[in-house]
Every structure is written in C-alpha cells, then in structure tokens.
Symmetry: C2
Subunit: 447 residues, 2 copies
C-alpha cells in the first residue's frame, strides 16, 4: 500500500515540480502587499485538486487559507505553511530572476521555493500520491496556510483565536526544514519569538550641506549612537531588564544540546568566517544559538548612497532591527524596555515608527509524534534525523502549541539561502521530502 | 561709463537667465561622470562670446576650462568657479525636475543654479555688459573653472602646479556666495579643508537570514560601533591626535568673530530646531562654525531599506563620512590617524575603501581687495557686506592662496538649498550680483 504511494510520488515528480514553478512565479511579497490574492487562489485550487475542502478567511491583511479532509480516522495531521515570501532584494545578486523559477544543476532557483512554497507543495503532492495510487488516507488532514509569515504574522492571532478548535490535531508539520552541511536531515521543535522595530530619526527640516554639521544636529549620528547603545561588542544587549525573563537551560536541555552535531567547521566554511561572533564555540555557541535572545540590524538608511561622494547632512536616518526572543520573553514588554532605554540614554529623538512580533514556543523533545517523524525520516533517508530543540528563527508557533505538537521538516538544505538572493531547493530532495510526508502519514495511521 | 554697464545688465537680464537655464539643463554630476564634456564645451562657448580666450585642460578626471582676457591693465581679476554639480538625489523631494530649470515666484529652481553655475554666469554676463555697452574693461580677466569641485577637486592640484603662473592675480572671486536670513549680503574669506571617506564592512560571504545573527558577525553592527567610536555625543572627535595641529583662535580673530551677526534665531527657525548641536550658542557656536574641525555622516547603507520588514543579516554595510578640517590639519595625516584609531579600537574589519580631500585656507581679513568687494557691495546693495572669516564648507582655496587673495561672493541666499532638493536662486538677486561684479571690476581699475 505505502509502496504504491511512494511509487506514485516518483511518477508524479515532474508534475509536482511544475506546480512549484507555477506558484513560485507569483511574487507574493507580504511586505509589499504583492500577488497575495492570486497566490491564495492558486493554492486553494491546488488543495482542492487532492480532494481537500478549502476556505478563504479574510483578515486585516493577507487572507488565511485552510484545508480540511476528514476521512473518519482516529488521528489528525495538521500542516502549517505560508504562501507569502521575503522580498527578493537585492535583485542584482540573483543569477536568474527571482520570480522566474529555473532549474540549474539539479536545483530549482526561485524566491520562496525553500521558504516555503516548495514545502507546501511537497505536502500537497504527497497527498495527491495517496489519491492517485488509490490508497485511503489513514489520518485526517488539516492545512493552515497564512500569507503574512514573512512580516511576523500580524493577523494570525485573530484567526487562531476564532478557529482554536480547527487547530486541534495529534501532530503537526511546521513550515520549513533543512539538511546540515553533511547532508543530514534536520528537524526543529521550536522557534524563537521576534520583535521587529523600525527606528526613524529626523533632526532638521531638510537635507543640509554637510558643512553645517558643525552646528546642526545629525540624524545619522543620533541613530548610530542609539544603535550602538543597544548592544556591546560582547553581544550583550544593554537594555535594562532585557534578560530578566530568560530561563536558563535545564540540565536535560544542556545534555540534549551537547549531543547535537553542530558542524562548526562546515558552518564557518560556508559563511567564509574564521570565527563565530564573539569568538563563540562549543557549548557557548550552542547556547547562543538555541537558548539566548539576540539583536540584529536588518537595514540602515541615510543620506547619499550612490557612487562617489555627496557632502550632505541628511535630515533623516532610519534602521530596521530585530530581536529574537526566547521563551518567556514578550515583544510588548521588550518594546517598552527598548523605549525606556532610548529615553534614559537621551535618545528621545529616535522614534519607534512601528514594530511587530510574537513570543517563542517549543514542542517537548519527548513527544511521541517526534518519534513518528524520526521513523519516517529513517525509512526514507536511511539516516537518523538531527533534531534541534529550536531554530533561532521565528514563527508563530506560540499560537499552535496548546493545540498540536509541531515538528518542522521540509525540503531545504544548507545551500537553500532562504531570505537571500539565489534561494533554491534540490529537486531530488523535494521528491524525498514528499515521500517522508507520505511515511509520516502512514506511521501516524498506526499510532 | 559704469552706469551704462549697469544699464546694459538690466537690459540683458532675460538673456542671462536663459543662459543659466541652458547650462543648468545639463546634469553635470561629477560623482557620476555625467554631462561633463558637454558642459565644459558650452561654458567655453559662453566665455568666447564675451571675447575671452579659452583653453580646455584635460586632467585624469574632468577637464579644467581656463579663460584669459589681457587688456593691458595694471590689475588682474581672477574668477574661480566650477561647472560640475552635486547629485540631485533624493529626486522625489524636488518640486520640479532638477535638470529642467523652472522659475516660480521669482526664483529659478535647478540643481547647480546656486552652486555654482548661476554664479559663473553672473561673472560672464557682467563682462558681457561691459562689452555690449562699449566700455573698456579696466582690469585683465582670468577664469579657472573646474569640473570636479563637488567631488573634492582630485585633479586640480596637478593643474595648479602646472599653471601656477596663470593663477597670479591681484584679486579673485571665489565660487559661491549667499545672503543671511535677514537679506544681508555675505562674503567668505576662507574655506575649511575636507577629508571624505567611504567605509566598507563585509563580515560573511552573503546575506543571511537574520536569525543567524546569534552566531554570525554583523557588518552593520560593526559599522555602527566603529562610527560611534569616532565622535562622542559632545561632538568631540575621539581619534587620537585629531586636534593636535588645530591652532586656537587669536584675540584678533575672536574680536572679529564677536562682531558678526550670526542670526542664531533665524537659523534655528530655518532648520526647525530648538537648539544647535551640543547646545552650542554665542561664542561656542561661532567657534565651532568657523574654527573647529568636525565630522559628519553623509550616508549609511546596509541591508533591507524598502517598505516593511525583511529579516536579513546583511553581509555588507557602508558609510560615507566627511571631516571638515581647519588650517594646519592635513587630510593625509588625518586619514592615517583614522586608520590607527579603527585598528586600535579593534575595527580592522572596517575598510577605508577610498578617500580624498585637501587642507583649509584663508585670505587675510585686512587685505585691500576685501575692501574693494565691500565698497562694490555697498554701492549695489546699499548695505554693508557681512564678512565671515571662513565658511565651514570646503573648497580647494589652498591651491590659490599663495597666488591671489580670494573673496567668495555670489548669487545664493538663505533659501538656496545648495546640495539639497529644490536648489534655487532669486532672479532679481542674480541681476544685482552681476552688477556687483561690474562694480568690483570698476573699483579694481582705480586701485
């Protein structure tokens, strides 16, 4: 029975890839409100083609697409995915246009293919194989596919509050996955929270000749000083009370983490660095990665940015920053502490123009559903899944965690370059990932 | 005799303005190497039309245009101007396209009209009035018009070394001028030096998902920390030895400066600020403006700069900064001290991608040529010229100061917005400025 499903997956591979290309051709950039409805509609058509009942749920932003297939089974499997993608900038660094999917050397290049349209389609085409092989699904299926994951899911809380019952399931597959540098398949049981903030400073009415900077206040210098005050060179965030709610690693967590192959050398080689930040290595490195909050500058903008020189004192300066939060930290609390910090340090002129975010969440390491995913991986890939307690990335797992234990697996690998130019996924791994989903379903039917 | 020249200036006003429009239509942005040859050629045609012999001097960058008219007079007047302009960005802040000159409410709007194509043409059309009125010029005329003033005149030193004799003159008019907020005409006897530097940082091989910032080094944070280390919030530059060569104000200078109406209130109102930087006022404010070096951030670039959010750890970050230097400071020395500072503070990763600059220079306050310009101003404008010992802006005056005493006057005013969007000059002041040049020539003939 399962064999005929797996065989069908091989037969359907090209059609599935064509479908990935089709959906990746639409630039559904939530940050720019582009191509959202078009992508949601195409996704619904794709779900309906495998017999799933869909619904479009309007929100204040992008609509949420749900899918439901009740086969009267004991267990229910839920998929959380998203149909929006990161902006493709800087465009000049792409070897092929980001929204014109292209296969080169066995990899499919397109913005969103690894994060996470390819994953989404690997779920759908696994189900399609069951249908086309004539094998009855042994579990009920639910889909929640949102369109604002890449802008911090601002409208998903409203949706999950209204549809809490729909979220109930015995196991769930979270949106993304990857492989280590050594090719080992990886799963993630949690996600960090996030607080994304836009800083804006304006100090004079309009841009001035920079010779005036001896007497006029400088927006870019104010911004630079303010940013500099947020974190010291030892990566320690200087905001008063920032670490108050951080729970130290337990002994059990420390032991679990100590066993993970973190591939330090391969990571350094990949990023072309001699050392990790703050000279972290070994346990410190893993603690920073899995269990500490951190702060990043995502963008800096001020004044003249083109070729050559322009002597201008810019009236304005802005920055985009993000905090990755760990369990027990809350964005609303952190943004208050951030504002207090700026005011206390004399940076009342540095405005928080807008912010959004959500807290962290984790699935327990020892949940039986984790074992099911591990078995499926062993069967398809022939090796043990590398399980991380959490990714340092973020996602709205906190909205699901009381309803369903989630494991994040997908089609990505160490070359996938999510959020960067030349995002890609390996075609043959896409096929294997479909099979792994098919086996998860099969194993879950026996639970 | 002079009266018929002044009458001719009034008669020619519209033609002169048309000529300003024509030359301002060419986007001669030296930073982008745009429209340089075209503008130089047009300028030569304009000079030749008033009987001036021109020469085009090729350099490693934009050519230098010289003009010479020897009437066998005792005295020689030299004009230093430039035919290049600042970039026009940000374009969206212009009310009319920067290179499509337009008159609104008595002002001509165009990039370069006040800095300094309008000035240049006011000199040329003053000479034209002499010619068309049939009045013999009482002084010999020299022009040096370069095409790289806005990018720190990198090739002018070669030119002036080769043509040192040509620079010899009894008096010179420097390129720009302005009026105070109260309408008082202003002259400048000196210019600060400049050191313009491009910082570049790259820490990882390519842009990463910002969740990786817990373990990967951040180019924008390195840049922010480095910039922050350069100057404290009291505007004191922290580079070791930076102030070593700064000569304190003399008693005479202090007295001279104390008498200048600095228009503090009008300046604050214009820039919409409550206080000057570092709460400077009175003497401290003037000292900072005229006699202290300073440091400005002209541009900041990193990561995602568009609408909304993108969670990216940028591989690269860059900044453009400029130091305004006072007499006795030298850019080559300062750039060495800057590099040493960065290295000593642990910022060897912050690269100085390129730099250029030159030192400061001043014409003595009590030179007889200054009196000639003051008399001409009184005659045309009916009020005393406000003489500043130096502008905080920069120009390659140091190349001329051993050959000719220079006074900077021109057509600008407090609304001119040089280096900013909506640069403009008042049409009626353009006409007056032509007359002032005509009277300077007349007065110089009596010297």
């Amino acid at each position: 029975m399962l064999d005929s499903v797996l065989k069908k997956i091989d037969e359907n591979a090209n059609r599935a890839i064509d479908a990935v290309k089709e959906i990746c051709s639409i630039p559904s950039v939530a940050a720019k409100k582009q191509g959202i409805d078009e992508t949601a509609n195409l996704l619904m058509k794709m779900l309906e083609a495998v017999g799933i009942e869909t619904q479009l749920h309007p929100t204040a932003g992008s609509p949420v697409v749900t899918g439901y297939l009740d086969v009267g089974a004991k267990r229910t499997l839920l998929f959380y995915d998203h149909y929006d993608v990161q902006p493709a900038e800087p465009l000049e660094l792409w070897d092929s246009p980001p929204f014109e999917p292209e296969i080169r050397n066995g990899r499919l290049y397109a913005r969103g293919v690894a994060d996470n349209k390819g994953d989404t389609l690997s779920r759908i085409w696994a189900l399609r194989a069951y249908k086309e092989a004539g094998v009855k699904l042994p579990v009920n299926i639910k889909f929640v596919v949102e369109g604002e994951e890449e802008i911090s899911s601002p409208n998903l809380p409203d949706f999950t509050k209204k549809h809490a019952n729909f979220l109930k399931a015995d196991g769930g597959i979270w949106e993304f996955g990857s492989a280590g540098f050594d090719g080992t398949q990886e799963a993630w049981l949690g996600l960090k929270g996030i607080l994304y903030v836009q800083f804006e400073v304006q100090r004079i009415s309009h841009n001035a000749h920079s010779s005036n900077s001896s007497i006029l206040p400088s927006a870019p210098f104010r911004l630079v000083w303010a940013l500099s005050s947020l974190k010291d060179e030892k990566e320690r965030i200087q905001i008063k009370g920032f670490y108050d709610d951080v729970v130290p690693m337990t002994k059990k967590e420390r032991e679990f983490v100590a066993k993970i192959d973190f591939e330090e050398n391969a990571r350094r080689k990949f990023w072309k660095i001699d050392k990790f930040v703050n000279n972290y290595e070994g346990e410190d490195l893993r603690e920073a990665y899995y269990y500490l909050p951190h702060l990043s500058i995502d963008g800096l903008t001020s004044g003249y940015q083109e070729e050559g020189s322009m002597t201008v004192l810019p009236a304005k300066a802005s920055a985009k920053i993000d905090f990755r939060l760990v369990e027990n930290q809350h964005p609303e609390d952190i943004v208050k502490k951030l504002r207090n910090h700026l005011d206390a340090k004399g940076f009342s002129d540095v405005k928080i123009a807008w912010y959004d975010g959500y807290p962290a969440a984790k699935t327990p390491i020892d949940h039986p559903f984790v074992k099911i995913v591990e078995r499926a991986n062993q069967k398809v890939y022939g090796h043990a899944l590398r399980v991380h307690p959490t990714t340092p990335g973020s996602g709205p797992l906190y909205l699901f965690k009381d309803h369903v234990p989630m494991v994040s697996i997908g089609i990505g690998d160490s070359e996938s370059r999510g959020h960067s130019p030349n995002e890609s996924a390996a075609v043959d791994n896409f096929v294997k990932a479909m099979k792994r989903i098919a086996v998860v379903i099969d194993e879950m039917g026996k639970w």
